[in-house]
Symmetry: C2
Subunit: 334 residues, 2 copies
């Protein structure tokens, strides 16, 4: 499998990106196409003693910055490391694309250059996140601030297929993020989406309140991109803050340090479970070829995990399944 | 000070409510008017050895249930423990009202029976929540699913006054919940609210991402009620889940139990800081007299804390300040 990687996406590019690629090549038996400035990539590889074995470079000068308008990728910055990567994906020179760069640009570029799956109205940024006893997918985690109910319903369908095919969860429970569990809760958007989701063959478990998200309420949480992004980041922020405060307690004095040493193994396990870097980022679901958004703050380990998940995403044949099912599902009201 | 308390609001009414009232009478020097079925209140007091000293009862039969439509409080259930409490507040027989009952009904009842402050377009459910180095107010935490930008701006003004007057924070930092920090992020609602908030005399610090909410990003977080509720509850849920998992680690084996004993004091401090029961609930800001929503799952301690906060809310003269400032603030664009 050949995975295209944006060598200039994210806060720690290119050094951490190429380090992660090296690790992925070694651990997951993949070939890599790096997009970006060849000279800088080779220089960084040399400085960091990274072997570029099984990696090729497709040279391009430009870089999309976090502050760039999303649409720059279609014109002004079409020739950037991200734009070039998407072109290569479209033309079939690689099997999947990973970038830690500007999310908005990646979404626009994926939808407009690589194109959506036939029948899919909007692609979603769909991170897989930790919960009690495993993980769940949030769809949408921030791609679409304004959505219609039929789009939310499709997010549920696509998320369900991903969680079943990639994560191996049978008959995934699909829930709708809402301000209460009762059917009538929320606004018109939620009420319509509730009705549409109820009409599908999905295992729809109804409305899910924020409080139940980190527990084990559902395997796919459907939300508009605005509130979905706030759920995603508040959850991450709370986990980071609490773990930091526990760490501070453990370092406070000798007695606490001894206690910490005694339970270090178990605590590290919890920290790992709650660490979003383990999950590497988010697939963009609804695009006709696999595109994966790695965390903007990706370090080598996050990048390696992102490539692992992208490989699974590609192998599981999620996209064909979505194409087959997006119209078969009983969504006559859409 | 005389505080009216809905003796039949919440999951643990009336026993935990009246226990909390007794504790509040003893600790905070307040008188209480309980609304609800006199016989049941007196029976519960006897069974739980609760002294009703400094508490009077205003008898009424009905109770608003969590499943009741919010508007029942205006007609069908006007004579419920919550409806009666709001009537007593309106007529001046008590200084403030506390209920752990149906939030929607409390909001509708407060707005329609007690009435909003002149000039306030919508009242907000505004919980004070823990963050690094203290607490912040979330306005709105779930009262208004559909809002306009001018309402969001008013939430910022009211929240700022509350945090200054009640919580003693000078020149509170007001932030807008959004999917990115840049000015143009979010939808039309957020863009308009950003512009309006920038035009006030508030200490507006711009957009706040979910990830920064549990840190120390702002003292007042402005949000529409839908995403605000998801922020509130996801934060609570994450804290509950992580603390539960840490507790499980500490109980896992003898070695861990010993380690736990060594740092128990510090950990309890953290648990207390993160425990929403400490904060007791949320003031409903924008109403012409103090109304406080206690957590639906309130036990005696939560109720006691709710009454303490309600006393502070009432003494700080927040309502006069809001009335004076809601129109003086430079919000010519509203």
């Amino acid at each position: 499998m050949k995975i295209i990687v944006d060598a200039f996406g994210g806060d720690n590019a290119p050094s951490e990106i190429i380090k992660g690629c090296q690790q992925a090549v070694e651990e997951y038996d993949v070939d890599i196409i790096l997009t970006g400035n060849r000279e800088l990539i080779e220089k960084s590889a040399e400085e960091n003693s990274v072997s570029l074995d099984r990696m090729s470079i497709v040279h391009t000068e430009g870089v999309i910055t976090p502050d760039d308008e999303s649409t720059y990728i279609l014109k002004e910055k079409r020739d950037s490391s991200m734009g070039k990567g998407l072109e290569l994906l479209k033309s079939g020179e690689g099997d999947a694309f990973v970038s830690a760069g500007n999310s908005g640009a990646l979404l626009v570029g994926s939808s407009m250059i690589v194109k959506r799956i036939k029948g899919v109205k909007r692609a979603a940024f769909a991170p897989v996140m930790p919960k009690r006893n495993g993980c769940f997918m949030l769809a949408d985690g921030g791609a679409n601030v304004d959505v219609r109910a039929d789009m939310l319903c499709q997010f549920g369908i696509m998320g369900s297929i991903y969680m079943e095919k990639v994560m191996g969860i049978k008959n995934p429970r699909v829930g709708l993020a809402n301000v209460g569990t009762e059917e009538h809760k929320g606004g018109v958007l939620q009420n319509d989406a509730y009705r549409l989701l109820s009409g599908t063959n999905l295992n729809f478990v109804g409305n899910i309140e924020g409080r139940d998200v980190p527990g084990d309420a559902c395997d796919v949480l459907v939300a508009d991109g605005f509130s979905g992004n706030l759920i995603l980041k508040t959850y991450e922020g709370a986990a980071i803050e609490i773990m930091a405060r526990i760490k501070a307690i453990f370092g406070k004095n000798i007695k606490n340090k001894i206690a910490a040493a005694m339970i270090m193994g178990d605590l590290k396990g919890l920290a790992k479970e709650m660490d979003y870097h383990e999950y590497g980022g988010a697939p963009i679901i609804g695009i006709s070829r696999p595109v994966f958004k790695a965390h903007g703050s990706s370090k080598a380990r996050t990048m390696k995990n992102a490539i692992k998940l992208t490989k699974q995403f590609t192998q599981a044949n999620v996209i064909n399944e979505i194409e087959k099912n997006i119209s078969i599902y009983k969504t006559e009201n859409i």
